[in-house]
Structure formats: C-alpha cells, structure tokens
C-alpha cells in the first residue's frame, strides 16, 4: 500500500515537473504571408531576448488558418479547449475568433489595424479584460502631409487597396477624412487580386498625381507589377509600409512588420512575467519605430525633387541600386 502510494507520488511529481515551468503559447494567423510571418518571427525574437528558451521554458503551438475564416474559428476553439496559457492572434479575423471564445486566459492580438472597430477591445490603452495587443495602424494624415510637402502641386491622390481587406478600408476612410483640409482629393483605386490591381493603376492612374498604398496585403503581394505599371505612367508611389516601398515605391513611411512582432512579443513577455492583460496597455506601434524610406534612383527617373531636409531624415535610402541604412 505504502509502495503504491509512493509510486503514485513519484509519478505525479515527475509529471508535474515535466509540465510545470513550460508555458504554452498558442499563436494563430489567418494566412501564410511574408509580413505576417515576420510578425511571428518578431514575437519569438522578443520572447527569446527576454531570456526565455523556446522549447523548454515556452512551448509554441503555431497554427495557420490557411486563409479560411472557418479554420480560424476552429483554431480558436482548439486553443480554448486545450491547455494553452497565452493566445496570440495575428490579423483581424483570427483575433476576432479568439476573443469570442477565450475569456479566461490572456489573448494578445497583433497586426490588427482597428482593434476597437473590430470589437476586440473597448478602447485603446488599458482595458478591463483579458485582451491586449498591438495595432498596426499607420499615420495616414502624416502621409498625406508628406505627399503635399513633396508634391505641392498634387491635387488628386489615388489610394490603391483591396476593398475586401478591412485594414485598408479603415485607412482609406481616414485618408478621406484628412484630405479636404490639405486640399487633396482621394480617388479610389481598387482591385481584389494582382491583375485587378495593375488594371486599376493603368485605368485610374493617369488621372491621379500620386499613388498612395496603405498596409494592403493584396497590393503587397503584387507590388512588383504595380511598381512597374506606375513607373510607365511616371506616377510616384508613396507607401505606408517599408517593404511595399522597397518594391517600387518612391517614398515609404511606416514600420517593419518584424517590429510589430517585437512589440507584440514584449506584451507576451510581460504576461509571462506575471502581469495581467488588464494591467497592460493596447497600443499602436510607437513613432520611434516609424522609418522613412526614399528611393533616390526612382526620384531621378520620375524627374521629381524631394526637399533636402526630408532626404536628410530618411532611415533607408536607395542610391545607385544600393540600399543604404542610416
């Protein structure tokens, strides 16, 4: 009898030692996409930088909804029913699915442009719930001011986006709210896939002075073709995402998605260290992470001039085919 009890105690101890200490993090994203994968990498980097070892201290269960909203919901339910201690949801639909079903554990959202409008949190900043996260909203009116400063004669700004992406629709609405005070008119240039995007550039492009691209996933995926089409029309592209700008943009002012991941990872680390989501603040990517990208080669090719004080401020410059970081 004593022996049996002892064996049971020992087994219990071993089991608890094996499972104790390791925190399980479930990470879900809607689709395989370079920017979203960069977010994941950033999260992992931040957790590792804080001194946690992936695999021993922290176990990561990475799930991908393969573009299906149904799968995103299935993953959320899976996390809810399994022993996952912290849930990280990248993108709006994945986060919406998780927030609905997981109420007893921390949910950290990432790369959601409009978490309030998406019904994830009541307000930006501190919230009295289990949900906290990082928004990838970009400073749209600053972008428009930048356009106005570089191209003082510009009147019509074409916003290229996919009307099926809620992030892009939010940013476009913001641009439409900000444009009148700057004397600009926003022209919709929409496409739901790569070929429609290029068609939009070719058909609407001639009527606009500058093309503006937000954090649109569809535009990001077809940026090479869009950049080429815009160059044929001699229209400059100003982008809110550095990686979009890299592939054919004249000016980019935004952040790396890796940085969005790092910021998200910092929130996860705080939770790992024992804080509650209600003690943390949901925030936007801070101004210190905003980078300015300028392609001087393209500037010459388009025959435009950018004020020197703006060029001086650039963090990344492309000159003679070389990317220079400052």
């Amino acid at each position: 009898m004593l022996r049996k009890t002892l064996t049971a105690v020992v087994i219990l101890l071993i089991v608890s030692v094996l499972s104790f200490g390791a925190v399980r993090i479930g990470i879900t994203q809607i689709v395989d996409h370079p920017a979203l994968n960069a977010v994941f990498d950033g999260i992992v980097k931040a957790i590792e930088d804080a001194g946690f070892k992936i695999g021993t201290d922290v176990l990561i269960d990475r799930q991908n909804a393969q573009g299906s909203v149904q799968n995103a919901a299935a993953i959320a339910r899976k996390f809810a029913s399994e022993k996952v201690d912290i849930v990280v949801a990248i993108t709006t639909p994945s986060a919406q699915a998780c927030v609905q079903v997981i109420t007893d554990r921390p949910v950290v959202f990432s790369a959601v442009t409009d978490p309030v409008g998406a019904g994830l949190i009541k307000q930006m900043g501190r919230n009295d719930s289990n949900v906290v996260g990082v928004s990838d909203m970009v400073p749209v009116s600053t972008h428009l001011k930048l356009i106005k400063t570089v191209f003082p004669n510009a009147k019509r700004v074409g916003v290229l986006y996919n009307p099926g992406e809620s992030n892009s629709v939010t940013l476009t609405n913001m641009a439409k709210a900000a444009a009148p005070s700057l004397g600009l008119t926003i022209v919709d240039m929409t496409g739901t896939n790569a070929s429609e995007m290029v068609a939009a550039v070719n058909s609407v492009g001639p009527d606009v002075d500058v093309i503006y691209i937000g954090t649109d996933n569809t535009a990001a995926a077809s940026m090479q073709a869009i950049g080429a089409a815009a160059l044929r029309l001699k229209k400059p592209i100003v982008a809110a995402d550095i990686n979009i700008a890299r592939q054919g943009g004249l000016i980019g002012f935004g952040f790396d998605y890796f940085q969005v991941g790092v910021e998200t990872g910092k929130l996860v680390v705080e939770i790992l260290k024992g804080k509650k989501p209600s003690e943390l603040e949901s925030h936007l990517i801070g101004p210190e992470s905003l980078l300015l990208f300028i392609n001087l080669d393209l500037m010459k090719e388009l025959n435009v001039s950018i004020p020197q004080e703006i060029i001086d401020r650039a963090n990344i410059i492309v000159q003679n085919g070389q990317e220079v970081k400052r």
């Binding site: 699915a97 309030v116 019904g119 930006m124 600053t142 099926g164």
Partner: protein, 320 residues
C-alpha cells in the same frame, strides 16, 4: 471535441444545401460560396442595428435563398448552365456582401466599444511633425460598435452544442417532411428525370427555382449561424464553401454506402462532422508528418477527386 461537433453541425446545414442542389435536384450550383457570406453579412448588419437574433437569422437565410433563386432564374431564362450562372451570381455577391456590411468585415461584439480614432489622434506626434507640421484641423472619428445579443454563450458547457443540434434536427425534420409531400416528391423526381416531370404537366423550371432556393436558404442559415457563433462576418468567409460541403456530402455517402436515411439528408450531417474531425486531426498532427498549411486545399481537392474516381471504378454509375 464539443467545439469540433459544433462546427461540424454548423457546416452540416450548408452541406445539406449543397446535397440538395448537387444530388437531389442534380443542378451543380456554386452560389453557396457567395450566399454563405450573404447569410453572415445580413445577420451581422441586422444584429448590430438592434434586431432580435431569430428574425435576423431568418431574414439572412431568406436573402441567401434569393441568391439561389436568381441563379436558377438566370439559368432557366437564358438557358445558361447552372454552373456558369452560379459563378456569375457568386462573383457578384462579393460586392453585394460588402454593400450590406458597408465594410469587408463586420464584428458582432459582446460589448460596446468607444469611438475609433486615427494614429495622430492617439499617438499625438510623428517623427516628421517638425517638417510637415503637427495636427491641425484633422479629425477622424468612427462610431464604435454596439453590443449585440446572440444565443450562443461560447463556453464549452454544451449549451451551444445543444442549440446547434436543435437547429439541425429541426431543419432536417422540416426538410424531410417537405420532401415527403407531393411537391417534394416531384422535386426529387425532377432530379432523377427532368422529362418525367414534364409529362405530369408541370414546368420543370419551377423545380430548378425551388431546388436552388431551398438549397441556398440552408447555406445562408449556416453562414448566419456561423457568424453569430464566431462573432463576426467577413467577406472572405465563403471561399471554398462548395468544395468543403461537397467533400462532406461524399464522406457521408461513403460512410452509409447505398443505404438511405431520410432521402439522404442524413449523409451531409454525418459527413460534415467527420470532415471537421479529419480537419482538426490534420491541423493537430499534419505538421509533424510534413504538411504545410498551404497544402490543405490540395488535400481537400485530391480527396474529393479520388473518392469520386474510386466510386466510378466500383460501378459505372454516373455521379457528380
């Protein structure tokens, strides 16, 4: 496991719809990819404007059934194959859904949220403010979200499952009753032999209209319930719905063989649940044996084709 059952049964309603169009009335119809979104979009829009969930769900399914009606109308009036007609309707519904929601994604939240502000209004300044000038008279404000009342509680206590089972059983029973009536019998007859119905003196087009309307009503119902269940409607949520439902129907047929329960309405229900179980197994263990997330669609497609091919070998009966 409860969650898998719940999702499987929600899918079952759409699978029943696809079963009716593909099998019972034998009219291949791709409208569901669009009508599923319409169901979700209408229910989200109505719930947010304060309507009760019962009427919202009913109206959502009705809107989706209208999509099926239009497909059938185009097909019978202009003598276009239903496959082609339905692709057109499905494509158009993408835009219609965004119109209904006035946005590509509409949450059905549990709590009210405050106003949405822009980056500059929240953060206050950006690194270029000294060159470009700071905030001037720019104000962006979007209304927050109002809380909506939905029947699901999203807890794994069986409450949601009970509700969904109730739904599926009730709808299945109603359909079974309908298919037993004279009209229902003729509808099934239309699927077997178009000309036989004509001999009875009824316009066969009437049955095409009825079949696709009923089928898409079910699909819309499924979309509406799924939206309430998962808390949002998204314009991309219908993509690949027909293929998934077809896979469910075929799975059900394999499981039950040639035996028929309730005119086969039982197949898609069981098939959808099994499909959901297989999907979750693939999600859980697939990565360990080398799957990539992007392989899932290929696997589904290969599965449907191989099952159809296997059945062709067995007996030279024409399917799909």
């Amino acid at each position: 496991m409860i969650a898998i059952l719940e999702q499987g049964l929600l899918l079952a309603l759409a699978a029943m719809g696809v079963y009716i169009s593909f099998r019972l009335v034998d009219l291949p119809d791709l409208t569901p990819d669009g009508s599923y979104i319409v169901g979700g979009a209408v229910v989200a829009a109505l719930l947010r404007s304060g309507h009760g969930w019962v009427s919202s769900v009913f109206l959502a399914a009705l809107a989706a059934s209208a999509a099926g009606f239009i497909t059938a109308l185009i097909s019978t009036r202009f003598k276009i194959h239903t496959l082609l007609a339905s692709i057109m309707v499905m494509t158009g519904l993408y835009s219609v859904a965004i119109r209904i929601m006035n946005s590509p994604n509409l949450p059905i939240p549990r709590f009210s949220t405050e106003k949405v502000l822009s980056y500059e209004q929240i953060v206050g300044k950006t690194p270029l403010d000294d060159i470009l000038g700071g905030l001037e008279n720019f104000q962006y404000e979007k209304e927050g979200v109002k809380a909506a009342i939905v029947p699901f509680n999203n807890k794994a206590d069986g409450h949601d499952l009970f509700l969904i089972v109730l739904f599926v059983v009730a709808i299945g029973f109603l359909l079974w009753l309908f298919l037993r009536t004279e009209l229902g019998t003729m509808l099934r007859g239309y699927g077997r032999n178009r000309f036989a119905v004509k001999v009875l003196g009824v316009n066969p087009n009437f049955f095409a209209l009825m079949g696709l309307t009923v089928a898409n009503f079910l699909v819309g119902l499924s979309g509406a319930l799924f939206s309430m269940y998962s808390g949002f409607a998204d314009v991309n949520m219908g993509a690949g719905m027909v293929v998934v439902c077809l896979a469910s129907v075929i799975l059900g047929e394999i499981i039950f063989g040639s035996r028929e329960f309730a005119y086969g309405l039982f197949f898609p229900v069981v098939g959808a649940v099994v499909y959901q179980i297989l999907l979750s197994l693939a999600m859980k263990y697939g990565y360990r044996i080398g799957f990539r997330p992007s392989d899932m669609k290929l696997l589904t497609a290969m599965f449907v084709v191989s099952v159809i091919a296997a059945r062709r070998f067995k007996k030279s009966e024409v399917t799909v």
